[in-house]
């Protein structure tokens, strides 16, 4: 490196100011001009987070939200060279720094995870699907699923409810399937029962519906007649939604 320590230090001080907004003194710099850098840089970060987490932004009190974004940008070195991936770093920072507890927002991790997942599934690189055929046996032929999906589990129904009070009241166990429609590119999401989440997980691994159903009693699911009918109805519905693509060929 050809940079002298003094120049290096000046660059660090300048960028440090952009990150924190805390007063610095730099040779030859007009303070009333400097403040525009902080404004422009911070607005960009703020806008990125507002756009990535619209539900969180709307339902978290403004004071808390502003403190979060400021804390994040000042203390976290943003690693992503693609700004659209920065919200993942924000979410990760929230988890690592225990914001759920510190800001008394128990549903925060779930909400940020859900909003980030929507964005990630929407933008992620194309994943080629396995070859499949349109005809097959629903019970005995392994199914081919749309690989562009994520299965998430939450303690709070952040995918169904937005108001914080409601979220807290409905604490429980929730599963959400997000997938990208191969035709429109839109992200669809669906609330799943624990059984359907288990089913989806097993189908991804190439297990047949019959083998998964055989496992049901071990999950304390007894009403097997209806279960088979309901499960097949769900899968056929998911075929129309472009999540089940077809049958392994």
């Amino acid at each position: 490196m050809n940079l002298l320590p003094d120049t290096y230090h000046i660059q660090q001080t300048f960028s440090g100011y952009c990150r924190t907004g805390e007063k610095v003194s730099l040779p030859g710099v007009a303070p009333d001009r400097l403040k525009h850098y902080r404004r422009l840089v911070f607005n960009m970060i703020n806008d990125t987070m507002e756009n990535a987490f619209p539900i969180a932004f709307k339902h978290i009190p403004t004071g808390k939200w502003n403190k979060m974004v400021k804390d994040f940008f000042a203390h976290h070195a943003c690693r992503s060279y693609q700004v659209w991936k920065l919200p993942l770093e924000f979410y990760t920072y929230a988890v690592e720094n225990n914001w759920e507890e510190n800001y008394a927002l128990p549903f925060l991790n779930d909400l940020l995870a859900f909003e980030w997942a929507e964005m990630e599934v929407y933008n992620m690189e194309d994943i080629p699907a396995q070859p499949f055929t349109a005809a097959g046996n629903w019970l005995d032929t392994p199914l081919v699923l749309n690989p562009e999906h994520q299965l998430l589990s939450f303690t709070y129904p952040v995918h169904l409810v937005a108001k914080p009070k409601e979220l807290l009241r409905q604490k429980g166990v929730y599963f959400v399937l997000l997938f990208r429609d191969p035709e429109t590119g839109n992200v669809e999401f669906m609330d799943l029962s624990p059984w359907l989440a288990f089913l989806t997980e097993q189908l991804v691994m190439g297990i047949t519906v019959r083998d998964i159903l055989d496992y049901a009693p071990q999950l304390n699911i007894t009403d097997t007649d209806t279960l088979e009918k309901d499960t097949l109805a769900f899968l056929q519905h998911m075929q129309q939604q472009h999540f089940v693509l077809g049958f392994q060929s």
Binding site: C18, C78, R79
Partner: protein, 275 residues
Amino acid sequence: MVGLGFRREFAEEMISGEHIRPDFIEFAPENWMNIGGYWKKVLHRVVEKYPVLCHGLSLSIGSPEEPDKEFLQYVKTFLQEYNVQIYSEHLSYSKCDNAHMYDLLPIPFRMDAVKHIAGRIQQVQDFLQRPLVMEIVSYYTPVAAEMSEVDFINEVVKQSGCQLLLDVNNIYVNAFNHQYDAKAFIQQLPLDKVAYIHMAGHEQVAPDLIIDTHGEPIIDPVYDLFEWTIQHLRPVPVLLERDFNIPEMEALQGELTRLKTICHKQWKLKDELVA
């Protein structure tokens, strides 16, 4: 050739070409690398229709730390995949202490910074196997300068062998903000190294300060400076940047047409084809 910065807000209009018809498009590889789904399809449609130039955001040539090799590899692959003719970047830094800032921070105009940057430009050019075209950025305050801006730029070009992106609006903005003569400044640049021109609008936020927003139409004095400038240049591609406050396509086409008319008049040549 007069092109337009490609943006998602008017992607469909550009693909249809009904109300807006640039000669080429430009976009930041960072905004389009490693994405799939809907926008990847859009990208494929638009690159089928127009030649592509790329204007990077995250290289941060003025960073103290080493260039990000993984990032450069992605850029290299992307430029090859989309047959990109020019890869330009900014003579600034946007990353320090390994933290991205997503904005263009001014580099101290100092000789050690020149040496540092020249070395980095060469490193990147070697890696990408193509020349870098470096944009003179707008800035709102000098930082610990030990030499003039124009000397700084000349030294960087001389020591690195890079080419220049002359953003005429940036020069106008800088001349206004730092009270110097834009034409005198341009005359002192190594104009034979200019490979690309940017044009844009800006916003005056105080009696003595203009912010380079890309959110307004180009103003007449910037057109005048452009017309004067290109008389001193060989024909190069010219790009209109519009990033915010997007108007009707007819208005943008009007700006493209006006730029084109000036180019035809002054360069007395048919469009130089880059693609």
